[in-house]
């Protein structure tokens, strides 16, 4: 095996183009995948036509809520482009300067303050079906956030007015009496008066009024909570059932490194085995100069060692930019080593089944790329039956298991490293056996 290993290293060193592609391609691919996963979509560029007069407010009790708060909330959710008129906004959409436009009408404050109709805004957008879907989705989210923020301000003002009604004081509303008695102060005052009243019709009447005042006081107190419930009826409380929460950027690192490990390992192993057949040296070697098992093991180990070294270098290199827990480096090595072995086994199986290097490379690419994407499909994002099929496919190929092993090693995610390593070991044996069967045919 030593001489074959030495020979393959020499051939690899002389295949500079292959070597270059094997190093550059996975790194470039890994970077793209990493960027795609770790970068959230940018804020949509939206034209804002704010027709409301400056300083316009909505009166809620003694509080005034500035209408410009709504625009501010909206601006924080999008990339705003201020335009003076609706016509200008339409022109900007048509020219592609902006994805959409939001027109905040002049009478929005009056409509909200009226208490009988909702304020409304106008949304304009353009583009093909895909763009429309994207813009609508992003804009709906931005508008929902802005609505929520604005309604919280109105809730706060309303809650303050209720507080004055309960505790007494100045409501600040035109026509309201100054130094008003609070609803909460009425029952004790009435009880003192009732105590001084002789039994009779007046006392009975006062007792009825007192019961109402007590009831109203209690229920108006509850209305503060009701206001916040209406503003945000469902509060989201997240709990992670299994494992540790994986930050998106370190998960992106794991994906990028796993993809590189897979490509280098599968391509090198598949190409190495297929080369022996293409050069017609397989039959010469199999005459007793090397066992088929030894030959396959040599190709697997060489590919795994090269891919392992590249993946480890990538992980260490990325670690300079993304915060990784170096205390777990021992686990990285285990995950990368077993992942490389499983990918190497898949590679030798492909190489043994293909007759030539080009076919093996094509098969390796054609198989690896979809497997990587399938393994990244999140549960719930596709129909149940389809997800089960994807999960089954991902289970019998090494990418998902290698990804899980590395995610566990780097981020402490579930399932545990031991489970993933055992899975990878099983796949190594399975694909190794398949490669041995494929190599029965010498030419």
């Amino acid at each position: 095996m030593r001489w074959l290993l030495q020979k393959d290293l020499l051939i690899l060193r002389r295949s500079r183009l292959l070597l270059g592609v094997l190093v550059v391609y996975p790194i470039a691919l890994a970077l793209l995948i990493g960027l795609a996963i770790s970068r959230s979509p940018g804020k949509p560029k939206v034209a804002i036509v704010d027709e409301t007069p400056p300083g316009q407010t909505i009166q809620v009790g003694s509080e005034r809520v500035d209408v410009s708060h709504y625009a501010d909330e909206l601006f924080s959710q999008v990339q705003p482009v201020h335009v003076p008129t609706r016509e200008q906004a339409v022109a900007d959409i048509e020219s592609g300067n902006v994805l959409a436009a939001v027109v905040i009408p002049r009478d929005i404050a009056a409509r909200i303050a009226s208490g009988v109709s909702q304020g409304s805004i106008e949304v304009l957008y353009n583009g093909n079906a895909l763009e429309q879907s994207l813009v609508r989705s992003q804009l709906n989210s931005a508008l929902a956030q802005a609505n929520l923020g604005f309604s919280e301000q109105i809730q706060r003002a309303a809650a303050q007015a209720i507080g004055v009604l309960l505790s007494g004081g100045n409501l600040g509303v035109l026509g309201a009496p100054s130094n008003m008695i609070g609803l909460g102060q009425i029952p004790p005052a009435l009880r003192a008066i009732i105590a001084r009243q002789p039994p009779g019709a007046d006392r009975t009447q006062l007792q009825r009024i007192n019961r109402f005042a007590e009831f109203a006081n209690q229920n108006l107190g509850l209305s503060k909570n009701v206001l916040s419930t209406i503003g945000q009826p469902i509060q989201v409380k997240s709990t992670l059932v299994q494992g540790r929460r994986t930050p998106l950027n370190t998960f992106a690192v794991v994906v990028a490194v796993s993809v590189s490990l897979m490509f280098v390992c599968v391509l090198l192993a598949a190409g190495g085995v297929a080369l022996e057949r293409e050069e017609h040296t397989l039959a010469r070697l199999a005459r007793g100069l090397a066992t088929r098992e030894g030959l396959l093991a040599e190709k697997l180990l060489l590919a795994a060692a090269c891919a392992f070294a590249l993946a480890l270098a990538m992980l260490a290199g990325i670690g300079a930019f993304v915060s990784l827990d170096w205390g777990r480096a021992g686990q990285w090595l285990i995950a990368l080593a077993f992942g490389a072995l499983a990918f190497g086994a898949l590679g030798i199986a492909i190489g043994a089944l293909a007759r030539e290097v080009r076919a093996a490379s094509l098969l390796a690419f054609g198989l690896s790329l979809p497997l990587a994407f399938l393994a990244l499909v999140p549960s719930g994002s596709v129909a149940h039956g389809l997800y089960d099929a994807i999960a089954a496919i991902s289970f019998v190929f090494p990418f998902k298991a290698a990804l899980q092993a590395l995610d566990c090693a780097v981020n402490g995610a579930s399932p545990g490293l031991g489970v993933s390593v055992l899975h990878l070991l099983g796949l190594t044996v399975l694909f190794g056996a398949l490669a041995r069967v494929g190599l029965r045919r010498l030419e």
């Binding site: 074959l4 017609h280 010469r284 005459r287 090397a290």
Partner: protein, 233 residues
């Protein structure tokens, strides 16, 4: 003493019989040509003798069979990214040759490829590749050599060089068994001819005997064709 002894050899691929009841012996220094039409079983026979394939029934025995026979397949089996010397040294090591460097020098000298020793195989001409292919078969100094159509892709001068080299081997005592479609080579170089057709051994003797028996006027090819016709092929 027989270097190769084939007894009752048969090879079947499922329902198809590639070889049936083949028997012959080869002694040291013989240069035996195996000829026959396409699909006669020439490559199958040589690859079984060389240990690349196993026989369905029958035996192949002698000092020059299996892994101990030198083998040069029809398509050159070389690492094209390695040089001539690197290929030779690799196989010398894999064959367990005691002194690989010396064996490489010997083969470079025998094949006349000394000047091309450091040249990568991918840059060699077809003839030189075939010479390296044969040299790889000889690196372990085997008592016998099996050559499967060694000159099929070569031009006449290149064929001439290969036969000079192979002839010298036979003269030095190596038993050489070769298949070919160039029937003129059988007349010129072979000391014995074996004719196969549809997996059957139809003739085993001197090329001159086959010519004489089939009225070939000294032309082996016309005698061979007449012989096959007479046997229904």
């Amino acid at each position: 003493m027989n270097v190769i002894s084939v007894k009752g050899l048969a090879k079947r691929y499922g329902e198809r019989t590639a070889l049936r009841d083949i028997e012959f012996d080869v002694v040291a220094g013989e240069l035996v040509a195996i000829v026959g039409p396409n699909g006669a079983g020439k490559t199958t026979l040589l690859s079984i003798i060389a240990g690349v394939q196993s026989a369905s029934t029958g035996t192949v025995a002698g000092t020059g069979v299996g892994a101990s026979i030198g083998w040069a397949p029809q398509q050159t089996a070389l690492y094209s990214k390695l040089s001539v010397a690197e290929n030779l040294k690799l196989f010398a090591r894999l064959e367990g040759v005691a002194d690989p460097d010396r064996a490489v020098l010997r083969m470079l000298e025998q094949t006349g490829l000394g000047e091309r020793a450091d040249e990568r195989v991918e840059r060699l001409s077809g003839g030189n590749r075939q010479r390296v292919n044969v040299a790889l078969g000889l690196i372990g100094d085997p008592p016998a050599l099996a050559l499967d159509e060694p000159t099929s892709a070569l031009d006449p001068p290149q064929r001439e060089r290969v036969w000079e080299f192979v002839g010298a081997l036979a003269r030095s005592g190596t038993a050489v068994l070769f298949s070919t479609h160039h029937l003129g080579e059988v007349r010129r170089y072979a000391t014995r001819a074996i004719v196969l057709a549809d997996g059957e051994l139809l003739f085993d003797g001197l090329p001159a005997e086959l010519i004489a028996a089939n009225g070939g006027d000294g032309d082996f090819e016309s005698a061979f064709v007449a012989f096959l016709k007479a046997h229904g092929h």
